[in-house]
């Protein structure tokens, strides 16, 4: 999922740097207020942890492997803002030091994985875990789902960024200058890999970690809730029972969560729009080159790439969590693609609806939102 240099146009890079910078700035401000100086070592260690997690190859069912990002557990323990910083730092070091992801695309990568990923994971976790007991299996399930959804949300946004490149940036002869695959290829290509392997890996790690923490260190699961204290003190975790009506300053209020959801929602309709263009585009390309499509479609059944693509998927998703496993011979038929998109839109809508219901019903948890 790390986009390398050269796949995004300069204006795309600049735009996403702007988005990312806004996110970083907001996160820094909040962290400063909440955690004072204790933030720095904690976030650094989580960043290092996320970095190391990205090196873990998890064997998945079927004899292949994938890797997780660690955004699920980071968002659960650090909260979304801390998680944004931690994951961004891990990504920055990967880009600078290990060449994983580009420098010009760092803004976009941070936006996709650190910002979208963290918020998605946090919101989904909070929603599903709700007020269930810290030790319950419900929490494990919540962690698994939140990790899964977060990775796929990140993958989707990445796919959109890559997919709009050929449409917007090509030279006079129509050659795409940057990422060459349009939305109708990019989206299915990315999503297939992440709806399956990478998503499962993240779900497994998130769930496994939460389950481990339930047995080994319950305090961590509560989130490091003593952050509002002044520096120099070691904080005893405030137990939720102690402060039923209180909320430490700067903690995630319902309004902020709305923003997070709104951001999510912003991208699902874009998918619908994109689908429209892709369909339109597709049919015109279709008209332009009538042979190509049929040939490739016909070739999909017996062309060498499809049977070796599973190898490619693993290879790619292991190292780059790379975008395009099965694009060439396996064009998704329009109805299936449309179904996929409406499903995502539907999920987004349900999230929104239930949030509305909760706030309207006054059942919004008022105490420490990280417990």
């Amino acid at each position: 999922m790390h986009i390398p240099d050269g796949y995004l146009s300069p204006s795309t890079c600049a735009t996403f740097y702007l988005f990312a910078a806004t996110g970083w700035y907001a996160a820094l401000k909040r962290i400063k207020r909440l955690l004072a100086t204790r933030a720095i070592p904690l976030i650094s260690v989580f960043a290092a942890f996320s970095f190391v997690v990205m090196m873990f190859n998890v064997p998945l069912p079927g004899g292949t492997t994938g890797h997780a990002v660690g955004v699920g557990i980071a968002a659960i323990v650090l909260g979304p803002w801390g998680s944004i910083l931690a994951i961004s730092i891990a990504l920055a070091i990967q880009a600078l030091f290990f060449g994983d992801g580009g420098i010009t695309t760092l803004g976009a990568n941070c936006f996709n994985m650190a910002i979208v990923g963290s918020f998605t994971a946090y919101v989904v976790y909070r929603m599903i875990a709700a007020n269930s007991k810290l030790e319950s299996r419900h929490r494990v399930l919540a962690a698994a789902v939140s990790g899964y959804v977060a990775i796929n949300a990140s993958a989707f946004v990445t796919a959109v960024e890559l997919g709009i490149q050929p449409m917007l940036f090509h030279d006079a002869s129509g050659t795409p200058l940057y990422a060459p695959y349009p939305l109708h290829v990019a989206i299915p290509a990315m999503m297939i890999g992440h709806l399956t392997f990478a998503g499962l890996a993240e779900a497994a790690i998130s769930a496994g970690m939460v389950s481990y923490l339930q047995r080994a260190d319950l305090g961590l699961l509560r989130g490091v809730s003593g952050f509002a204290q002044a520096p120099g003190t070691i904080v005893a975790d405030a137990s939720p029972a102690d402060s039923p009506g209180q909320r430490s300053p700067g903690q995630l209020s319902p309004r902020r969560l709305w923003w997070a959801v709104a951001l999510l929602m912003l991208f699902t309709p874009l998918g619908i729009l994109a689908a429209g263009t892709a369909w339109g585009e597709w049919s015109s390309a279709d008209l332009m080159n009538p042979h190509t499509r049929e040939q490739i479609g016909a070739a999909s059944g017996n062309h060498a790439p499809p049977s070796s693509v599973p190898v490619g998927i693993e290879k790619l998703s292991t190292v780059w969590t790379a975008p395009f496993p099965g694009y060439a011979p396996r064009f998704i038929k329009s109805p299936a693609f449309g179904y996929l998109l409406s499903a995502m839109f539907g999920v987004g809508f349900m999230v929104l609806a239930s949030l509305v219901a909760r706030v309207a019903g006054g059942k919004w948890p008022r105490r420490d939102l990280r417990s």
Partner: protein, 270 residues
């Protein structure tokens, strides 16, 4: 003798677990103290309280007449002053090596205290030379051996020339040779104005590193005395979980009785 630390009846808990209960002690300038206790007895916690990293929930604590409270430490001048004069060496050196190179690590303290750049560089180089680690100047900390790490950590706290040195298990996990080097190091301050407080559970070094011993158990002081007095009190040592009884052999005879390895006298009837 001027008083350094006055600790009156303090208590402290981690979350719900009490770590220090009603603890009182007095430490004078130039004292060499050993805090003797098994793991979990509260000696590490006490050192951190003395270094104003934790603040007791009850009781009072003063350093050279100044109260060590959270509020007081928030005042810039007092904070800087205190941090220069009191230094704590943690048990795990990795925790204290968070700078990119050895030079940066030793320079960290002076920089935080806003010394001038020339002073920092001069003093750091001096310190590296004294600790014989000048050759490690630009080395990153993850490429150091355990012994080297410990020396770097010592250099980085001594660079500020503190009046009080708090050492948390300085010889734990070290091989005998390194252990004796550390002990020699502590011994060199005997008779100086520097106050050294060492927390340890290793009875064999106590005589060398301290003139006075406080025995801790379950978060409170259960005994105080000279090293010889304390080490001879077998009942006390057993109670504090500092010695054990197991089968062992010496002089060709196998038997079992409370003892510790390295104790000064090991004579008894068979």
């Amino acid at each position: 003798m001027a008083s350094t630390f006055e600790v009156q009846n303090i208590s402290f808990s981690y979350e719900a677990i009490p770590a220090i209960r009603g603890l009182t002690l007095h430490i004078a300038e130039g004292d060499r103290i050993a805090l003797l206790g098994a793991n979990g007895s509260g000696k590490s916690t006490l050192l951190r309280i003395l270094d104003a990293l934790y603040f007791p929930s009850a009781g009072t604590l003063t350093f050279k007449g100044d109260a060590l409270t959270e509020k007081h430490l928030q005042q810039d001048e007092f904070f800087l002053n205190f941090r220069r004069r009191v230094a704590l060496v943690f048990q795990n050196p990795d925790v204290q090596l968070f700078n990119p190179t050895v030079f940066d690590e030793v320079a960290y303290g002076p920089l935080q205290l806003q010394w001038s750049k020339e002073d920092v560089i001069r003093r750091v180089d001096e310190m590296l030379h004294v600790m014989s680690i000048s050759h490690l100047r630009d080395r990153p900390p993850y490429r150091l051996s355990l012994g080297e790490k410990k020396r770097v950590v010592l250099a980085s706290v001594l660079v500020l020339d503190p009046e009080v040195l708090l050492l948390d298990e300085p010889t734990a996990t070290l091989d005998p040779k390194s252990q004796s080097q550390v002990v020699d190091f502590i011994q060199q301050w005997k008779g100086t104005a520097r106050t050294v407080i060492t927390a340890t559970h290793q009875l064999e070094i106590v005589e060398d590193i301290a003139d006075r011993v406080f025995v801790l158990e379950a978060g409170t002081v259960i005994a105080e005395g000279t090293p010889l007095e304390i080490l001879a009190d077998t009942g006390l040592l057993l109670r504090a979980n500092l010695i054990h009884a197991h089968r062992h052999s010496h002089g060709g005879v196998v038997h079992s009785h409370p003892h510790f390895h390295g104790q000064p006298r090991h004579e008894h009837e068979h």
